[in-house]
């Protein structure tokens, strides 16, 4: 079991429901293949640094998960076949990356808690 992180960009032309469905599809696909989802992040609609398929914005979504290495090629072919996706990137996380991500999450969580306390 290795830890991976994947970011994909969904076309902005979809409706909110369709967007959710696209994300859901991959969440289910991961779960069906014994993947353990560690973390998810929704970046929302972001401006792209350069146009992709004549679109200047994209809907970013990040999933961090643990699976066996063989599954990755299957996941990537699934990404390739999906026309709703503009881009995707799957990266294997080394131990430094894992600790970095955990730290980042902890800081974000603490900041959130502090905010709620203030309110």
């Amino acid at each position: 079991m290795n830890q991976y992180e994947t970011v994909f960009i969904v076309t902005p032309v979809l409706s909110a429901d369709q967007m959710k469905e696209a994300v859901q599809k991959y969440q289910n696909y991961l779960k069906d293949n014994n993947a353990e989802i560690v973390h998810e992040e929704n970046w929302g609609i972001r401006k792209l640094a350069y146009p992709i398929q004549k679109k200047s914005t994209g809907f970013y979504y990040l999933i961090e998960f643990k699976v066996d290495g063989q599954f990755i090629s299957k996941l990537e072919t699934e990404f390739k076949r999906d026309e709703r996706l503009l881009r995707f990137l799957t990266v294997k996380l080394d131990k430094h990356a894992v600790t970095y991500n955990e730290k980042k999450r902890r800081i974000a969580k603490e900041a959130k808690e502090q905010k709620t306390e203030e309110n």
Partner: protein, 89 residues
């Protein structure tokens, strides 16, 4: 007037070629992982055209320069950073 020019005296010796030693910022501050998602941070390692700055200028060690390059390339793929730009900064 040429005489006057040669008579200029300085109170303190003028600094000529006092090179500041370059250092690797990652080694110094103990950064182990360079995040490709943090485009603002990676912006420090590219020039105005979006090209990766060489080690010779940044002073980064080989180990971390590789990681910087990898991170910048990943960020470009995800359209977080441009491949080509003009007046990025």
């Amino acid at each position: 007037m040429a005489q006057n020019n040669s008579d200029i005296k300085y109170l303190t010796p003028i600094a000529v070629d006092t090179k500041k030693k370059k250092y690797c910022r990652f080694k110094k501050s103990g950064i182990k992982y360079i995040d490709y998602k943090d485009a603002n941070f990676l912006l420090k390692f590219v020039n105005e055209q979006g090209k990766i700055l060489p080690r010779r200028i940044m002073g980064t060690s080989t180990k971390y320069q590789k990681k910087v390059a990898q991170a910048v390339k990943r960020a470009r793929h995800l359209a977080l950073m441009p491949y080509v730009a003009d007046l990025l900064k």
